[in-house]
């Protein structure tokens, strides 16, 4: 059962990813990405990351993507045409990523996994566990990240203010 769900999500994510790159209209790219994210969130759930699943749907697919949509809707162009410049760019890019993929696969196929640590699989990935980690051992990164968010927000407000004098 789980495997079936997984494979469906796999295909959706893959097709969505290709669609992101393939689509001419930015709007459709964004929507494809949303699909990818939803698929990924399902996979997260399969991998016992309940909290991350929730956050992915709410924050990532819900807020960040909506933001993208708004920007595209407000000032994005409609289509992307052909280009005269950098004619070899596309082919070279595909070549490079193919090589990269090949290397990556070679690396991953030879991998020897470590023995997993002993934890309770039922409690793994729950909100309590995440909270325990986040607010005790990893408090510092947490605080710094929140500060980062603050800075980003201020920066965004500043950059997009109306008056220019």
């Amino acid at each position: 059962m789980v495997a079936v769900v997984f494979w469906i999500a796999f295909i959706v994510a893959l097709l969505g990813g290709i669609s992101v790159v393939w689509q001419r209209e930015p709007l459709k790219s964004v929507l494809s990405l949303v699909a990818v994210m939803i698929a990924l969130s399902v996979i997260f759930l399969i991998l016992s990351a309940q909290f991350v699943f929730a956050v992915q749907v709410i924050v990532y697919a819900g807020a960040v993507m909506v933001l993208f949509l708004f920007v595209i809707a407000l000032m994005g162009p409609d289509r992307e045409g052909r280009s005269q410049r950098l004619r070899f760019q596309g082919w070279l890019a595909l070549l490079m990523v193919a090589v990269f993929a090949g290397l990556g696969w070679a690396m991953l196929s030879g991998i020897q996994f470590r023995a997993p640590e002993k934890t309770n699989i039922n409690l793994f990935g729950t909100v309590q566990q995440i909270a325990a980690g986040l607010f005790s051992t990893y408090l510092y990164p947490f605080e710094v990240t929140s500060f980062l968010l603050l800075v980003a927000a201020i920066g965004a407000i500043y950059l997009s203010r109306r008056e220019r004098d």
Binding site: F6, I43, F100, P116, L134, A156
Partner: protein
């Protein structure tokens, strides 16, 4: 160790499948960054790459039964959000001055 994940209903999946998806999405995102010319779409492809990385992290977290992966994925998500926000703000700023359809137009910093 063989990296096989067992699920409560008895089915098994190989870790490699998850990793394969992650790698494919990452590579597709990278190709998109290099091929697409609309700045917004480039940002979207970057988000795709980040998501792929998240997937890999969560996979290893599950495989190794170590929560750090998930915590790190949360951080990545946060940072990705922040970066998307700032990047969009910059783009909005540029769009005010001129209509940028093609990132190759923004090539004054050359030679």
């Amino acid at each position: 160790m063989d990296g096989v994940l067992h699920f409560p209903d008895g089915s098994t999946l190989d870790t490699g499948a998850f990793l394969l998806l992650g790698m494919l999405l990452f590579v597709i995102g990278a190709a998109g960054v290099m091929i697409r010319r609309n700045p917004l779409v480039i940002l979207i492809c970057i988000e795709l790459m980040l998501n792929a990385v998240n997937l890999t992290l969560i996979t290893f977290a599950r495989q190794l039964q170590n929560l750090e992966g998930q915590l790190f994925a949360l951080m990545v998500m946060t940072v990705a959000a922040a970066e998307a926000v700032v990047g969009l703000a910059v783009l909005v700023d540029i769009f005010r001055v001129r209509e940028v359809e093609d990132i190759d137009d923004l090539s004054e910093l050359k030679g």
